[in-house]
């Protein structure tokens, strides 16, 4: 846990200072011998990448197209700008047919070619990724899956390509959990759904006429904890996804809300008002034992674990309005970390623990903001006005949040630094409370 307001101590800086001095000395000694140009900024644009439609052989199910899914996945990250197939000068399906000059002329930096073959009940994809300027192959693999699982294969290839190009693991094979609200026979219908990250292949795991809130993935991706009002009062359930088994782990009098799995998967941070005031507790999932972690007359809620499992962040109005506080450990004093604006709530840590993302009110609108904990620098990431419930992708490169689009509530994916936004096409109607799963093994 890092503290804001204190002189930040960073081994990286300790190492960086002498390294910088040595570099300066080296530069001074070689300045005359060899010119050194420093480049510190990139194009600030999405990387042009060409995903050539994969060749197909055999009887493949219609609908899903691997190259199309890959192209959409890459585009969704905001880091890549895939070339439309219509602009391509040729459509090679393997490396031998690639003429790099053509792709250089089109300004493409990387090129993905491949083909899909039906092999009985399975589909095999062979693909190659090229550095166009370097005219060299960066990736060349072959993967297969069942014939009706082509999207999984496409997401797998997307993950491989993304990792090869960015050095970060891809998250296209992860899942999203969210809650939709619609009306059925004149009554509201809340449904807890799980889908691919692009919103496809959504499946309902829980349906209720009462609100469903705050879904949270267990670290192993096999369970969901959420709040359900199905009994007429808020309860916290743990839902095993494979079996559908649901367990109410917190049904205390008063408020039972905002569950968040500990990194070790053994406990939940929950908000309970059993004492008459909303406080943060640690709930052991197995033993159901409770440990009170906050004790203040103000409302303390929305507790989330730091990724290292030590300390947590929460929202409290103890200062007069909702602000974000951090406790470095269970017994440490809470420390306020947000000071900009009157409303800062719903904090989430980035996977590396260096940032928190939260809902920030500014000029009457609610945005998703990001704060670097070391420096305290705050950056508003969204331009929409009714943003809530941010959830961070497990690679820390994207986040999803709920926002209003006309009369509907939609889910939008943006890059973690506030880049291009991508709205999930599958989410229609009121979609809220998104939760990004961990990387599923």
């Amino acid at each position: 846990m890092r503290q804001i307001g204190q002189a930040p101590f960073s081994w990286r800086k300790v190492i960086a200072i002498p390294a910088a001095l040595m570099m300066l000395a080296a530069l001074a000694s070689t300045a005359h011998a060899e010119l050194m140009i420093r480049v510190t900024k990139g194009a600030g644009e999405a990387v042009p990448v060409a995903v050539v439609p994969f060749g197909q052989s055999g009887d493949l199910p219609g609908g899903d197209n691997i190259s199309t899914i890959i192209r959409s996945n890459l585009e969704m990250t905001g880091e890549f700008n895939p070339l439309s197939a219509e602009r391509m000068l040729s459509l090679p399906t393997n490396g031998d047919d690639v003429f790099f000059r053509d792709w250089r002329m089109l300004g493409q930096r990387y090129l993905l070619v491949g083909n899909v073959t039906r092999e009985g009940d399975r589909v095999r994809a062979r693909y190659e990724l090229f550095d166009v300027n370097g005219e060299r192959r960066l990736l060349g693999e072959s993967s297969s899956t069942s014939v009706n699982n082509i999207r999984t294969l496409a997401h797998h290839i997307s993950d491989k390509v993304y990792e090869a190009l960015t050095g970060e693991p891809g998250v296209f094979s992860t899942r999203l959990a969210y809650v939709t609200l619609d009306e059925n026979e004149g009554k509201p219908r809340y449904r807890l759904q799980i889908s691919d990250v692009d919103g496809r292949r959504a499946s309902v795991r829980l349906e209720s006429r009462e609100p469903i809130l705050s879904p949270s993935w267990s670290p192993d991706g096999k369970r969901l904890a959420y709040v359900s009002f199905e009994s007429g009062k808020p309860q916290i359930f743990v839902h095993e996804l494979a079996s559908g088994k649901r367990t109410a782990v917190a049904s205390f009098p008063g408020l039972n809300s905002a569950p968040d799995w500990s990194p070790d998967g053994r406990s939940l941070l929950v908000t309970l008002s059993r004492s008459g005031n909303a406080e943060i507790y640690k709930l052991d999932v197995e033993s159901r034992s409770l440990t009170r972690l906050t004790d203040h007359w103000g409302i303390d809620t929305e507790g989330v674990w730091h990724p290292d499992g030590n300390g947590f962040a929460f929202t409290s109005d103890r200062s007069g309005g909702p602000q974000i506080y951090i406790k470095e450990s269970e017994n440490a004093s809470p420390r306020r970390v947000t000071f900009g604006g009157r409303y800062n709530a719903g904090a989430r840590f980035s996977p590396d623990g260096e940032y928190i993302y939260y809902v920030h009110q500014r000029d009457g609108a609610f945005h998703i903001a990001r704060m670097e904990l070391d420096s305290g620098n705050e950056q508003v990431l969204t331009r929409t006005g009714m943003d809530e419930s941010p959830s961070i992708a497990p690679n820390g490169r994207m986040l999803i949040y709920a926002t209003r689009q006309g009369d509907d509530s939609v889910l939008t994916v943006i890059s973690a630094d506030g880049g291009a936004a991508y709205t999930l096409p599958a989410a229609r109607g009121d979609v809220r409370e998104p939760a990004w799963s961990p990387i599923l093994r």
Partner: protein, 364 residues
């Protein structure tokens, strides 16, 4: 050297023992003997033999008989006196010999007469008588010869003694003379040795003097040459200094001009360098797509080699970031530029842009 003992002996000897006096005495004795012998050998009328007759017979017919002639007299050994006395002695001896010959012939005539007379009377008695006489004569002759021989031996001994003394004297004289000669020779040798030494010393001193003189002359010559060389060297140094000063002045002037030109060129090159460095940086900014994994503090260094046309000849990673995607993004950016902006000046290009390095380090 003279033996002093010999000198003492000489002085102690009586005067009559001097060789000269001895010699005179010896001659006087010889003369006296000669006169006496001459008197003795002067023919005297001997009384005729009684009844002796002689007849002349042929030698062949005459049987050999014992001769009554006296045995041959031993001849006195020649003396070794001085020549005058020797001649005189010889003449005396010849007279004695002639006298003896004459006496012998007379004796033979008497003997022949006696033989003739004996033969005539009693050959036997005569023969005995002759034999007795012959024996007597022989005895007398023998006695005479013995006396003569003794005399001669005495004389000979005397002569030998004299000769010995003379020889010793001569030997002494010769020894003295030899000693004197040796002494003189020694003295001469010493003198010559001394002279030779003196001569050698003189020559040595002369040689030393000449050597010193030569050395002094050489030193003077060397000193003169040294001074001459030093003078020439000083002159050469002065000339060299003047030449160097002039060269330095010219070189300094040229250097100033070149430095000014170089500064101007350098300024121009630096201007061009800065300008094209900025252009290249801008081009790379537009071409670089840092991956999402890029973090502050991460950097990759590439070395680029350009062709004079500005085209990229080669690119290599000289310092990796450790992040493959990050390195790839930098290499891809470097390769993405078809033609790098480069200065028109070939010197500036060669100096700064023929080969250069790029450090990609994101500032997040």
């Amino acid at each position: 050297m003279t033996d002093p003992r010999r000198e003492d002996r000489k002085e102690s000897r009586p005067a009559w023992t001097s060789p000269v006096i001895l010699s005179l005495l010896l001659h006087g004795v010889i003369v006296a003997i000669t006169l006496v012998s001459w008197h003795w050998i002067t023919p005297m009328e001997e009384p005729p033999e009684p009844s002796i007759s002689a007849r002349l017979v042929s030698p062949e017919t005459v049987p050999p008989t014992e001769t009554t002639s006296p045995p041959p007299q031993p001849e006195p050994e020649p003396e070794q006196p001085d020549p005058a006395e020797e001649q005189e002695e010889k003449a005396e001896q010849r007279r004695l010999e002639q006298e003896q010959e004459r006496q012998r012939e007379q004796e033979e005539a008497r003997q022949r007469e006696q033989e003739r007379q004996e033969q005539q009377r009693q050959e036997e008695a005569a023969a005995r008588e002759r034999e007795r006489k012959a024996r007597e004569a022989e005895e007398a002759a023998r006695e005479k010869a013995r006396a003569e021989a003794e005399e001669q031996a005495r004389q000979k001994a005397e002569e030998e003694r004299k000769a010995q003394e003379e020889a010793e004297r001569r030997a002494e004289e010769e020894r003295k003379a030899r000693e004197e000669a040796e002494q003189r020779a020694e003295e001469e040798r010493k003198r010559q040795e001394q002279q030779r030494k003196e001569e050698e010393e003189r020559r040595r001193q002369e040689a030393e003097r000449q050597r010193q003189e030569e050395e002094r002359r050489k030193q003077e010559e060397a000193e003169r040459q040294r001074q001459e060389e030093a003078r020439q060297q000083r002159e050469q140094q002065l000339e060299q200094m003047a030449r160097e000063a002039e060269e330095a002045r010219v070189a300094e002037e040229r250097r100033r001009e070149e430095a000014a030109a170089a500064r101007a060129r350098e300024t121009q090159m630096l201007n061009e360098k800065s300008r094209y460095e900025s252009l290249i940086r801008d081009a790379l900014h537009g071409a670089w797509y840092p991956p999402s994994s890029a973090r502050e503090g991460m950097s990759v260094v590439l070395r680029l080699t350009l062709l004079p046309s500005g085209e990229l000849q080669s690119v290599e990673v000289v310092e990796s970031s450790g992040n493959r995607a990050f390195d790839n993004s930098a290499v891809s950016a470097a390769r993405a530029i078809n033609r790098y902006p480069i200065p028109d000046s070939r010197d500036t290009f060669d100096r700064y842009f023929r080969q250069f390095t790029i450090r990609f380090e994101p500032e997040v």
